[in-house]
């Protein structure tokens, strides 16, 4: 490994390579600012964005499966989002989301993003999970196509990108964030980046659970970087679960699974019973927060595995999915060949999104001068549960806003190589004998057991003690090789995420959205409903003690 270090100077450093980072890069580069995008993977091919369906919620009220138009409006989109978020969302951010996504999608379409449209040019809109109206515009080729377009556009506008470079630590000059230290994940080469402002768009921590729907995981780096820099984090108890296909002992990335139910698909238990039909009150368009616990409890009662009966999906749906390249079709074809429509496929509950994260204002600004955040790294839009299509919309709207604001913020960085070397001391040193990879595996299993679909105080406390121990161990461990440094970073990011999530989940003594406390009777949750319409917020100066309040307001 090389020990000398190069330095790069940029106006705006963007951390990540998913939809939020790429939207930020496009917007920042459009202003003429110098933009450097640094991704631990390959831009447009990493993070949740790479394999997301790309459904983008935008209330055009246009066509759905040949049915012309509907009465959808941004106001209805706003109400839907607040209803599903159950008093936890920041209404100002939601208002920006529902209004700004419309011109953004139009602009993207005009510039070449292949959002599916009818021959007359109307958006083909499908009804994402939890939506009261069909509202999702979907790019042909899914989110990968959208990200590819954003990446090319950012490059065309002059943004420079580095791939397989992981940001280890942010640099601070006492008054503002001034850059970062990065490491090449294959060679271990270090790089100092001096930046006028920094946008964290590094996703969340989808690797927190052994069962997750994202093919390219994120490790909590966004949260750790923001936390260490002094930003606030909130809503960490809200981990969103879905169900994902599972075959050959592996979970496969597939968006839109929960949507399948309202599309007429039948999920059967091990007795061949369509168990969802026996559950009261699910309705014809059940939300993710209602479906996933039902799914989970069926398996826990010994009636798993749960399988999708492909034959229950109407032919028209297969055609629709084939047209947009639904990932489920690729998976089924790979498993069963052309006769897949008569097969069954097992599904498991799996972590989908982290709804908590860095507290930001309307322009993605954080409590730390010079530091911005967007996408799944940030919190505030979704609240206690998320509507389908709102995450990609969030990445586009708030990625663009954060990119533009970071470029406007200016700032001259005084960061230098010496400062970067000092920052590295927190990571690099004599290789510890700790088996980081095994610790990560145990941490993920413990997170699944204690922070999973359903929670109890006793399990959360057990988890918290374990996560605290892991965090302490990771904090004092050092590594030398690129590989073990990456494993150490994984452990640190996940341990911090789990520490905050378990504390917030213990603090919130009720069930709400995707936070389900089985030790608290539903009647008790109903009684305290109004009192709990607030956020659980962590600030560095409060240590690990959360406070209750209204984040970002």
């Amino acid at each position: 490994m090389r020990t000398d270090m190069d330095i790069l100077h940029t106006d705006v450093l963007i951390i990540g390579g998913g939809a939020a980072a790429l939207a930020a890069a496009c917007a920042a580069a459009e202003t003429g600012a110098g933009v450097l995008l640094v991704d631990a993977g390959r831009p447009a091919r990493s993070g949740s964005s790479a394999t997301a369906g790309g459904g983008t919620a935008a209330a055009f009220g246009q066509t759905c499966l040949g049915v012309p138009g509907n009465d959808d409006t941004p106001e209805i989109h706003f109400e839907d989002t607040l209803r599903e978020g159950r008093g936890i969302n920041n209404p100002r951010l939601v208002n920006l989301l529902v209004t700004e996504i419309l011109p953004l999608v139009r602009r993207l379409t005009a510039a070449g993003v292949p959002y599916a449209r009818t021959e007359e040019g109307l958006y083909y809109q499908n009804r994402g999970v939890g939506q009261s109206r069909p509202r999702n515009c979907t790019p042909r080729g899914n989110s990968a196509a959208l990200c590819e377009w954003l990446f090319k556009t950012a490059a065309f506008r002059g943004a420079v990108s580095l791939c397989r470079m992981r940001i280890l630590s942010l640099l601070h000059d006492g008054s503002r964030v001034s850059g970062a230290v990065a490491m090449r994940t294959d060679t271990g080469e270090m790089l100092c980046i001096a930046a006028g402002s920094v946008v964290i768009a590094a996703g969340s921590a989808t690797a927190l659970m052994p069962y997750a729907s994202a093919a390219f995981p994120t490790w909590g780096d966004a949260f750790r970087l923001a936390w260490e820099a002094g930003a606030e984090l909130a809503n960490m108890e809200f981990l969103e679960f879905t169900f994902a296909p599972m075959a050959a002992g592996r979970v496969f990335s597939c968006g839109g699974s929960t949507q399948l139910v309202s599309r007429g698909a039948r999920f059967i238990n091990n007795a061949g019973e369509a168990f969802l039909e026996r559950l009261p009150g699910l309705g014809s368009h059940p939300t993710r927060a209602a479906l996933v616990p039902a799914f989970y409890r069926e398996i826990r009662a010994g009636r798993g595995p749960i399988r999708l009966e492909c034959a229950s999906i109407p032919a028209a749906r297969w055609e629709e999915w084939a047209a947009i390249g639904h990932p489920l079709i690729e998976l089924l074809k790979a498993l069963y060949g052309s006769g897949y429509q008569h097969e069954t496929l097992a599904f498991t509950p799996a972590l989908h999104c982290v709804l908590g994260g860095i507290v930001t204002g309307e322009w993605g600004e954080t409590a730390v001068p010079g530091l911005f955040a967007a996408g799944e790294a940030a919190t505030g839009v979704h609240g206690a549960a998320r509507l389908g299509g709102n995450a990609i919309a969030e990445c586009l709207v708030f990625g663009s806003r954060a990119g533009a604001a970071a470029a406007a913020a200016g700032g001259t960085s005084r960061a230098g190589v010496q400062q970067a070397r000092e920052a590295l001391e927190a990571f690099r040193g004599e290789e510890s004998s700790e088996p980081f990879q095994a610790h990560v595996a145990l941490l993920r299993q413990t997170a699944w057991e204690t922070l999973g679909v359903v929670r109890t105080a006793s399990e959360l406390e057990r988890g918290q003690r374990f996560f605290d121990g892991m965090a302490a161990l990771a904090g004092k461990s050092r590594a030398l090789s690129a590989r073990s440094l990456c494993e150490l970073l994984n452990l640190r990011g996940l341990a911090l995420t789990a520490q905050l999530a378990s504390r917030a989940a213990l603090e919130r003594t009720e069930s709400r959205g995707c936070h389900l406390r089985e030790d608290i009777p539903d009647a008790a949750s109903r009684q305290t409903e109004a009192a709990w319409r607030l956020n659980i917020i962590f600030a560095r100066d409060g240590g690990m003690c959360p406070r209750r309040g209204h984040a970002g307001c």
């Binding site: 390959r42 790479a50 394999t51 050959a248 398996i299 798993g304 790979a334 097992a346 498991t348 057991e449």
Partner: protein, 77 residues
């Protein structure tokens, strides 16, 4: 090996090489595109859906022999 290219169909356009986030594919000095590091594959299916000639298939054990694994997901409770 999780991905396989049908050499009869492939015209070595390199789209899969561009698409793969894990850099599984490489182009040999003779110009042939092939999966060089298949063990790093994360099964995202992006190369399969991106291949214009439908030349890539993913290989799994036959579904009939798949273990009923999804029950495991709850075993901790």
């Amino acid at each position: 090996m999780p991905v396989r290219i049908d050499r009869q169909k492939c015209d070595n356009c390199g789209r899969c090489l561009e698409r793969c986030g894990m850099d599984i594919y490489v182009r040999s000095s003779g110009g042939t595109v092939f999966p060089r590091y298949p063990r790093k594959c994360v099964d995202c299916t992006l190369c399969v859906s991106g291949c214009p000639l439908h030349a890539i298939s993913m290989i799994f054990p036959h579904a009939g022999s798949l273990p009923a694994t999804s029950g495991e997901a709850c075993h901790a409770h």
